[in-house]
Homo-oligomer: 159 residues x 2
């Protein structure tokens, strides 16, 4: 198999300088700060017709996650049971690709103003997809072990 090599199409600008500054998820801050998805000039033609969508899916490379554990099973800081990495949204994944469903406020000169990001300032952007409610929205999805709020270390809770 060929190597699977990603290249950044831009970067994300957020208020959070380090992973420990980040909120536990993008919906936690009230009000959520406006963040910027800056698309590199050579990729900007790909933004045509994007402005009519209210929500987007952003994929990005969690490049600050490598300092942490690489274990496939770990005990989240807000929990007391070991969980598989694929049953969490923790950043130290075998492929450290982050995903956020964001609300699009506007696009100007290759910069998307969005809310609901939760990642570190400067995170490399990999992809922008239009959010399609008919295939992406499952409002009644059952959240497994995450359905019950844990509070062991509420201030470090990371979802």
């Amino acid at each position: 198999m060929n190597e699977l090599i990603c290249r950044p199409i831009g970067h994300l600008e957020t208020p959070w300088a380090t992973t420990s500054d980040c909120p536990r998820n993008g919906r936690q801050p009230d009000p959520p700060p406006v963040c910027r998805a800056v698309v590199a000039p050579e990729f900007r033609p790909g933004l045509a017709s994007l402005d009519g969508f209210s929500h987007l899916i952003l994929l990005y490379w969690l490049d600050r996650s490598r300092g942490g554990t690489q274990e496939l099973v770990f005990t989240p800081p807000f929990d007391d049971t070991p969980r598989g990495i694929f049953a969490t949204r923790a950043p130290h994944r075998p492929n450290p690709i982050g995903l956020s469903v964001v609300k699009l406020l506007g696009i100007e000169d290759g910069v998307l103003n969005v809310i609901y990001l939760d990642c570190v300032n400067g995170t490399p952007l990999l992809d922008i997809k239009p959010y399609l409610a008919r295939t992406d929205s499952e409002p009644d999805a059952i959240m497994g072990w995450l359905a019950t709020p844990r509070t062991r270390h509420a201030t470090k809770e990371k979802r």
Copy 2:
């Protein structure tokens, strides 16, 4: 910046041998066929605690997409207006990472039985994330230019 290199954590087994066999999206087939996400043995510990979730987000590498156009702007087969690649879910993206929200039917021996996939048989699997309705579900999202069904080539329609 370091190279951003992905490695497959497994592969997807679907009924579709080529991209032209694939449905336009995973919700189109009625009934949707049961597909398999086969996780490689070394990554199976990461599946712990995943079985309580009703829905998952699968990320995968669209390795068959390279034969097509690499244009950032193209006219979809069911449309008559050029659209930016980031305003579509087409597979020939700068980073060919596919995303499906799937329903989890069960897990056995490192194999996830799911419905709502739409990709080619053998597609490399990159990540499994639990679907969290509170951050991932936007049932009222506005779908921009995709809100109006196009029918230029209905049989080749690809969403």
